[in-house]
Symmetry: C2
Subunit: 135 residues, 2 copies
């Protein structure tokens, strides 16, 4: 199976698959013409990667998860630790974004949005509390 078909099946752009090979996440064989040939196992890996990326895991997390996925003697605690840490990061990002949304939606609501210069949004930014914690 060539790269564009593999891309189709895995739900990833071909460019991304080449990149994943570059950084050692997959190592498809090569045909005599130099084209990549994807096996069923390669496809499983790519699909796994596409889905773990869609859950927001970093590439390095994906690398670790993939190794555990292929290791039949893994401990599920190793998987759970990675997932739980990532879950915490997601929760933190949600909190940050919800705080932004609450502030911003109030400012947008208060702004008349006409051709006059008076603007509660600019005033709100000017007088806002300092930035929260860093993401």
């Amino acid at each position: 199976m060539n790269i564009s078909e593999a891309a189709q099946h895995a739900g990833l752009p071909a460019k991304t698959i080449r990149y994943y090979e570059d950084i050692g996440l997959v190592t498809p064989n090569r045909d005599t013409n130099g084209y990549r040939v994807f096996s069923a196992q390669d496809l499983h890996k790519l699909t796994f990667l596409a889905r773990s990326r869609a859950l927001g895991f970093s590439i390095e997390d994906c690398r670790a998860l993939l190794a555990l996925y292929e290791d039949q003697t893994r401990a599920s605690s190793d998987v759970k630790r990675i997932a739980a840490e990532h879950l915490d990061e997601i929760e933190a990002k949600i909190s940050d974004l919800v705080a932004m949304r609450d502030t911003l939606s109030e400012l947008v609501r208060a702004c008349s949005g006409d051709d006059r210069p008076d603007c509660p949004i600019l005033k709100g930014i000017e007088h806002a509390k300092g930035p929260a914690r860093k993401p």
Copy 2:
């Protein structure tokens, strides 16, 4: 006022302020020794930038907002449009993250996290629905 004091007041790292000068967001004067000298107006701009960044606006949005902030003849509709578009992006990100969280927290909950290899998280990734839309 030198850069580290300005950084203190604005709530930004000095490195970031230099970067903002690089990309033309602020243009502090220079002392005879080459040191940057920040005026009260520079400080207002930096504070405005720190706060709009903390609300998640992109640098280019901040550039536009800063121009409107300084333009006494602006129309508040221009500000509101930028803010409302950003608000939509934030809402979309929140939706994505909440979907990730819901999936992931269920998987983490289901995983025993012991030393056995059986793992609902890996199974869940393997059998998940395809990725949602791109962020």
